[in-house]
């Protein structure tokens, strides 16, 4: 079956809301990472994040919807609407049973949940609002998008931490192979509320740097943790024949997808990121030599960076493919992160320019990566790969090609 087409993108990130602004700043290397006031006020050891300060839900959503949703769902609703507009798709023109929604969510409605649990324990069960039951749980974004646009097709919600943005795309392809025509797929995350922040700090993986420049420096000698961010992307995945029939603005094709899981380190068995990359290539029937750029997972922790660099070198050869991590400008946004990377890869295919990785001063010599640093690199890009790893051992990779 022909690879599904990707025909629309909606994004929110710390360095830009909406595709045009975000992509321009991403190519220019403008970072959105800065100190967040509430995190400073809380005296947290890490205060830098990719906060989407330019997103005002009231400008994009009806009050009724804002009241009953967490920020993470508000961002998903906005991104979904923009993806539809970008693809020039009017859902009412479709059979609703052929139109699905798949989102990833790693942590659900953080701020909403924290507020309502607080009310419960301060003021008793009667103080909990009626919308907690529908705002907090992981399926809220898929459900709200489905209702807002009248989409009744097969849908889904996947929780695989950072890998979920890619798993959502893989699942969208599965649904299209099973007969759906169009699927809105992607992910967002809003993990900057104080309790969510506290939980992330407990992992020891979050950068405690003070200076935003170089705070999130994957594959660098000084890599010392990632900077979390909020936001993400929704993408329109469309049956290729259907997209052709309506002369859709095709951004790229989803040629391949694969997912694997790592054994525990104590098992002595090898990790499976490299196998995941190879499986995605095989699925796309694409030799490694035809991949022109890799959007890396880029955890910015020495062990994780080494593992990823090693996996890439094994498949592509040392320095064998340009590698980039524009998430250094937006922060790592869990379910939103890989979805945003897919959006970046699609625009990279369109504009034939690889956005840069920011903040790297001393690339680790043992990694042997051709990192696209500091400035964007114009070059011929026919096929792109996006790699993601979810905490605990989730690996996913996709292969995208130019129309």
């Amino acid at each position: 079956m022909a690879a599904p087409a990707l025909t629309g993108v909606g994004v929110l990130a710390a360095n830009g809301v909406g595709v045009a602004d975000w992509w321009r700043r991403t190519v220019e290397g403008v970072s959105g990472i800065r100190a967040v006031d509430t995190l400073r006020d809380g005296g947290y050891p890490a205060v830098l994040a990719g906060e989407v300060v330019d997103f005002d839900p009231a400008r994009h959503l009806p009050t009724r919807l804002i009241t009953q949703t967490d920020r993470w769902t508000q961002m998903a609703l906005a991104a979904a609407e923009w993806a539809l507009a970008d693809a020039r798709v009017e859902p009412s023109a479709y059979d609703p049973y052929e139109f699905g929604v798949v989102t990833g969510s790693a942590s659900g409605g953080n701020e909403f949940g924290q507020r309502e649990i607080g009310r419960l324990w301060r003021n008793g069960p009667g103080a909990v609002g009626a919308y907690q039951s529908i705002a907090w749980f992981y399926a809220a974004s898929t459900g709200q998008i489905s209702i807002r646009h009248g989409l009744k097709g097969p849908s889904g919600v996947l929780v695989t931490e950072q890998a979920a943005g890619l798993d959502a795309l893989g699942h969208a392809r599965r649904l299209i192979r099973d007969g759906a025509r169009v699927v809105l797929a992607g992910g967002t995350e809003a993990p900057l509320s104080p309790y969510a922040w506290t939980c992330q700090l407990s992992s020891g993986y979050v950068s405690t740097a003070i200076d935003p420049d170089g705070a999130y420096a994957p594959f660098d000698m000084a890599a010392s943790g990632y900077v979390p961010g909020e936001g993400g992307a929704m993408l329109l995945v469309e049956d290729q024949a259907s997209a052709r029939a309506r002369d859709a603005p095709v951004l790229g094709y989803l040629d391949g997808y694969a997912a694997t899981f790592d054994p525990p380190r104590s098992s002595g068995r090898p990790a499976n990121l490299g196998r995941c990359i190879e499986a995605a290539l095989a699925d796309a029937r694409c030799p490694a030599s035809e991949i022109d750029v890799v959007f890396a997972d880029a955890m910015a922790l020495p062990g994780h960076d080494r593992d990823e660099a090693l996996a890439l070198a094994e498949v592509f050869g040392p320095g064998g493919v340009p590698v980039t991590a524009p998430k250094t400008m937006t922060g790592r946004m869990y379910s939103g992160g890989a979805a945003l990377d897919v959006a970046a890869a699609l625009l990279c295919l369109r504009d034939q320019v690889i956005p840069p990785t920011k903040g790297i001063t001393r690339p680790h010599p043992a990694h042997h990566l051709d990192l696209v640093r500091d400035a964007a690199r114009p070059c011929a890009v026919r096929r792109a790969m996006v790699v993601a790893r979810g905490g605990g051992g989730f690996n996913a990779a996709v292969v995208l090609s130019r129309p």
């Binding site: 609703p96 309502e116 301060r122 399926a139 849908s155």
Partner: protein, 423 residues
């Protein structure tokens, strides 16, 4: 190409009324109920004070000190049920890690630890900027729902695709449908699939209180879950897990595994109507049923039993009764239907898998579990809901449906493998 068929070769259950398949089936086949006054927290002041709880000691159930000490109850349930399923299937663990996948459904994930830790770190909700310095070092992993799937994968030595499926109250059906899809597309040969939820905590109870979704029948907890009964007034919150070993049929046969049933078809639709509301016409659920039947290549009149969503709310009972008539036609009136939620409560994302376990056991025992507490059938629910007493019947094709917040409607058809072998 020969289609790759997915079969269930092992099952494990952690349900109210007792851990393990034996206790579960004894409860269901006898029509007893496991609903009681909430003991997991002090529910004084709550509108609904009834739940279907699992008496569960993680260490007695064979979990390690780390698993018992650090993991949320939802992950502990999933591990316990997975270990049962692996043993039941006599699955050679570690034989083919790359071809072994995991698909675990959960609606609310690790909310129990999440709430407990928040209450501790925020001084009972009074400090918005919670005190990070007292947070447990494993908190992040303990709270991410993806951890539930990761723990199962480590137990099963699975290194193929691994995910938590979290579509609210249809999660337990959708996770098993996902497993069947992974087998069919050859992403895996074996999938540890199922679902777990442990939502009997103050915040989950309070949010259902707030929308009056749960029953206030606090004076009679044993009879509080009353699907299809005229006097029902809300569901009873439950908890638990069911996990399955799902295998590609020829591989299962080659290793001589005993097969419970085939996951013959599934259908998923959304109502795109309301996050919690259902229209009385049941159109989208009927559509999901039709898709499931079509995928199973079964005519509607081949269905021998329907395990209903039967949550015990009036809107649900009307909605799915209409959906059964719409999808099965006259055969709806001739098909026994029951809701095990009358006995084990509504464990949100887990219940779909717990119900599939009930279906697999019903087929094995040729016995339809009853709907407990169905004393006065709602006149608007005019199908055969098998009140009180289990009914003997040979079951070759069984339909299980689920309906959840977000508008999700899922149907799964399980069949005797002989049904499709004959084609």
């Amino acid at each position: 190409m020969i289609p790759r068929r997915a079969v269930i070769t092992g099952l494990g259950v952690v349900a109210p009324g007792g851990v393990g398949v034996k206790a579960f089936w004894e409860l269901l086949s006898s029509g007893r109920t496991a609903t009681r006054t909430i003991s997991l927290f002090d529910a004084t002041g709550f509108r609904s004070q009834v739940a279907a709880e699992v008496d569960f000691d993680p260490l007695l159930e064979g979990l390690t000190d780390r698993q018992a000490g650090e993991l949320d109850r939802v992950a502990q349930f999933a591990l316990c049920a997975s270990a049962q399923a692996i043993a039941d299937a006599k699955l050679p663990v570690g034989a083919a890690p790359h071809r072994t996948a995991v698909s675990v459904g959960s609606a609310v994930g690790c909310t129990m630890v999440l709430e407990q830790e928040y209450v501790r770190l925020s001084e009972h909700g009074t400090n918005w900027l919670v005190d990070h310095s007292r947070a447990a070092p494993h908190l992040f992993q303990a709270l991410m729902p993806s951890t539930v799937a990761a723990e199962v994968a480590w137990l099963a030595q699975a290194e193929g695709p691994c995910a938590v499926v979290s579509t609210g109250c249809t999660s337990g059906l959708d996770a098993v449908a996902h497993a069947a899809a992974l087998i069919a597309e050859s992403s895996a040969d074996v999938v540890l699939a199922g679902a777990s939820d442990a939502p009997i905590s103050p915040i989950s109870a309070a949010c259902f209180d707030a929308i009056k979704a749960t029953t206030p029948r606090n004076d009679d907890p044993a009879h509080a879950s009353r699907p299809f009964d005229r006097t029902r007034n809300g569901f009873v919150l439950g908890e638990g897990a069911a996990m399955f070993v799902v295998e590609e049929i020829s591989a299962a046969r080659r290793r001589g595994a005993s097969i419970y049933c085939e996951i013959a078809g599934y259908g998923q639709r959304a109502n795109a109507y309301h996050m919690t509301g259902l229209r009385p016409d049941g159109v989208e659920m009927a559509e999901a049923i039709r898709i499931a039947l079509r995928r199973a290549a079964l005519a509607p009149d081949r269905i021998d039993y329907i395990n209903a969503h039967g949550s015990g709310t009036r809107q649900n009972d009307i909605h799915e009764t209409a959906a059964f008539k719409r999808s099965l036609g006259a055969h709806a009136y001739a098909t026994p239907i029951s809701s095990i939620k009358s006995m084990v409560g509504h464990s949100l994302g887990a219940i779909g898998s717990i119900e599939l376990a009930a279906c697999a056991l019903a087929m094995q025992h040729s016995l339809v579990p009853p709907t407990a507490n169905l004393d006065e059938p709602d006149p608007d629910c005019d199908l055969d809901y098998v009140p009180h007493v289990a009914r003997e019947r040979s079951l070759r094709a069984v339909l299980n449906v689920g309906s959840g917040f977000g508008g999700f409607q899922t149907a799964i058809v399980l069949t005797d493998t002989g049904l499709r072998d004959a084609e």
